[in-house]
C-alpha cells in the first residue's frame, strides 16, 4: 500500500530551479533510496516532504491525506520524522533528554496536568522514559544516556538523531545522509540497523552518497539530476544504467 505519494513537486529559489516536477512514492515497509550528484535537489526535496519548505507546485499525500500545506510542527504527528544532513541534535542537554524531546507530541501532559494532576503526569513521563531507554538500547546509546549530547563521538550523534526521530513513533523515517562522516564499520552497522527497522515495519526514505550502503539496503532507488528524476528502479538496474554511470563518473570518450 502506498504510504507517501509526492506528485509533481516543484521548487524554485530565485532563479534556481531546485526541484522539477518530481513524482515519488513510498510504500509501507519499504526502503527507498535517493541518490544524485551534489546540488541535484535531494535535500530540498526532503525539506519539502518534511514541511520545512513549501512546494511551489504539486502536492504531498501521506496515508491518503494531503499534507502539503500543514505547518511544520504538525507533520510529525501525521507520522513522518526526519534527521538532518548536518546533524541537528540538541547539543547542550543529555542524550536521554534529546530522546524525550522526540516524543514531545506523544506525551499528553498539559501545563495544568503538571501542577494539578502530578500523578498522571508522572505516569506519562515514566512511560516516555521507559520508551526512551528501549530505543536508546536499540541504537546502543543506553549506557551514555546521561552524557551531554555534544560529548558523543560523531557517529553516535548520528545514531542519537535517528533515535530521537524514532521516539516519535513515525511510520515513515526520512534520513538525510545517515552515514555521512561515519567510518566503514560504523556505516555497515548502520545499514544493518536500518534493515532491522524495515523489518519492524518502518518505511524509510534515505538520501545517501555512500553507494555501497544505499545499494545494499534499498528496495527502490531514485536517481536525481538537476532537480529531475533521471531513473527509478531496483538497485541492480541502477548500477548497470549507462546514464547514471555517466553523471557520476563522467562520459567515457
Amino acid at each position: 500500500m502506498t504510504l507517501l505519494k509526492a506528485e509533481e513537486i516543484d521548487k524554485k529559489f530565485g532563479g534556481i530551479h531546485a526541484v522539477r516536477h518530481l513524482n515519488v512514492s513510498v510504500d509501507n515497509g519499504e526502503i527507498v533510496g535517493m541518490i544524485g550528484p551534489n546540488g541535484s535537489g535531494k535535500t530540498t526535496f526532503l525539506n519539502i516532504l518534511s514541511g520545512i519548505y513549501r512546494t511551489d507546485f504539486g502536492k504531498v499525500e501521506f496515508k491518503n491525506e494531503d499534507i502539503t500545506k500543514l505547518p511544520l510542527h504538525c507533520i510529525v504527528e501525521k507520522g513522518i520524522a526526519r534527521t538532518f544532513q548536518n546533524l541537528r541534535i540538541f547539543k547542550n542537554i543529555s542524550v536521554l533528554e534529546n530522546a524525550l524531546i522526540g516524543r514531545h507530541h506523544l506525551i499528553k501532559n498539559s501545563l495544568l496536568d503538571i501542577y494539578f494532576n502530578p500523578y498522571l503526569a508522572n505516569k506519562r513521563e515514566k512511560s516516555a522514559y521507559l520508551k526512551a531507554i528501549e530505543i536508546l538500547e536499540l541504537v546502543n546509546l543506553a549506557k551514555e544516556k546521561d552524557e551531554l549530547a555534544r560529548n558523543l563521538p560523531y557517529g553516535k550523534q548520528r545514531l542519537l538523531e535517528i533515535a530521537r526521530a524514532l521516539m516519535a513513533e513515525p511510520d515513515l523515517l526520512l534520513l538525510d545522509e545517515p552515514t555521512a562522516g561515519m567510518n566503514h564499520t560504523e556505516a555497515i552497522a548502520l545499514c544493518e540497523f536500518l534493515i532491522k527497522l524495515k523489518e519492524k515495519g518502518f518505511a524509510l526514505f534515505v538520501i545517501e552518497h555512500n553507494m555501497k550502503a544505499i545499494m545494499s539496503i534499498s528496495d527502490k532507488i531514485i536517481v536525481l539530476n538537476a532537480g529531475t528524476k533521471l531513473k527509478e528502479g531496483i538497485p541492480r538496474e541502477i548500477q548497470r544504467d549507462k546514464q547514471v554511470q555517466e553523471i557520476y563518473l563522467g562520459k567515457e570518450e
Binding site: 529559489f13 535535500t43 525539506n47 520545512i52 519548505y53 538532518f84
Partner: protein, 291 residues
C-alpha cells in the same frame, strides 16, 4: 505650515539616517544589535562640545577630532567586548555585552559631563533662508546636504573600493569571505570605525541644530537607529537612509499634531504593527532560510 513641518522632519530624518547607518552596517555584517552605538556617538559629540566651548577650537577641527574619537572608540569596543564573543552560539551573549559597554560609556561620560542638558553652540551662523516662501534655518539644508554626500560616498566606497567590497562580502558570509582572503577582523574594525565616525556627524548635527546636548541622547539614539533600520530594512545603507527619513517625518508630524510626550509611544505602536505585518521591515526582503 505643513511644508515647514515636512522640511524640519526631513532634516531630522537625515540626522536619524546618519545615526542609523553605522548601526545598520554593523548589524549587516555581524548580526549584532550594537547597543553601545548611541552612547559612542553621544561621547563623540561631547568631545566636540568640550573642544568648542572649553578650548575654543576651530569648529571644523573639533568636529574632525570628535569624529576620529568616535570612530576609534567604536572599533576599540568591538575589539575588546564583541570580538571574543563572535559566533552564532554567542548571539545573545554578545548583545548583553553590548549593553554592558553602553553602560560603561554612558557612566563615564556622565561622570565627565553630568546628566544635565548642555547648550551646544551653533556651528554655522544660522540665518533663516526663504525658499518657495518657507522660512527654514540654513542648518536644515546643510544637514540634508551632508547626508546626501555621506550616503553617496559610502555607496561608491562599498561598490568600488577594495575594502568596501570586502565589507559587502563579509556581510553575506563571514567564513566564506575569510577563505577568499578578506581580512575579516580588519574589515569588521573598519565597519565599526565608519559607523562610529558617521554617527558622530549625526550627533553633532543634532546637537547644533537644537542647541542642546545631553547624555540621554545616547540611549534614545540607539532606539532611533533601531527603529529607522527596521523601517528601512536592516543591514543596508540605503535602507537606513529611507528608514531615517520616514522616522524623522513621523516624529515631526506626531510631535506637532499630537504630542511630544507620546511621540515615542506612537512610534513604538507603529513599529509593532509594521513588524506584525512584515517581520523583516518595510523594505526588508524575505529570504527563505537555507537548511
Amino acid at each position: 505650515m505643513f511644508t515647514e513641518i515636512f522640511v524640519v522632519g526631513l532634516s531630522l530624518g537625515a540626522i536619524y539616517a546618519l545615526i542609523a547607518i553605522g548601526y545598520s552596517m554593523v548589524y549587516g555584517i555581524l548580526k549584532l544589535m550594537n547597543f553601545a552605538h548611541g552612547d559612542i556617538y553621544a561621547f563623540g559629540s561631547f568631545i566636540c562640545y568640550t573642544l568648542l566651548t572649553k578650548y575654543n577650537l576651530n569648529p571644523i577641527l573639533s568636529i574632525i577630532i570628535a569624529m576620529i574619537v568616535g570612530g576609534i572608540l567604536a572599533s576599540m569596543v568591538e575589539r575588546l567586548a564583541y570580538r571574543p564573543l563572535r559566533g552564532p552560539e554567542y548571539r545573545n551573549i554578545s548583545m548583553i555585552s553590548a549593553l554592558g559597554v553602553a553602560y560603561i560609556i554612558q557612566n563615564t561620560s556622565e561622570n565627565f559631563w553630568s546628566r544635565q542638558v548642555h547648550f551646544f553652540p551653533s556651528i554655522i551662523s544660522n540665518p533663516f533662508v526663504s525658499i518657495f516662501g518657507i522660512q527654514i534655518p540654513t542648518t536644515q539644508y546643510l544637514t540634508l546636504g551632508i547626508v546626501i554626500i555621506v550616503v553617496v560616498t559610502l555607496n561608491l566606497f562599498l561598490k568600488y573600493h577594495k575594502i568596501g567590497k570586502g565589507i559587502l562580502c563579509a556581510s553575506q558570509d563571514i567564513p566564506a569571505s575569510s577563505l577568499m582572503g578578506i581580512p575579516i577582523n580588519k574589515t569588521i574594525s573598519i565597519v565599526y570605525l565608519l559607523g562610529g565616525t558617521i554617527g558622530v556627524i549625526g550627533g553633532i548635527l543634532y546637537a547644533s541644530s537644537y542647541n542642546a546636548l545631553s547624555i540621554s541622547m545616547g540611549f534614545s539614539g540607539t532606539i532611533v537607529a533601531f527603529e529607522a533600520s527596521v523601517f528601512g530594512g536592516i543591514g543596508s545603507i540605503n535602507g537606513a537612509l529611507v528608514g531615517g527619513l520616514i522616522l524623522g517625518l513621523l516624529h515631526s508630524i506626531v510631535g506637532f499634531y499630537v504630542s511630544t510626550a507620546y511621540r515615542d509611544v506612537i512610534t513604538f505602536a507603529i513599529l509593532i504593527i509594521i513588524l506584525l505585518v512584515r517581520p523583516k521591515g518595510i523594505l526588508g526582503r524575505y529570504v527563505e532560510e537555507k537548511v
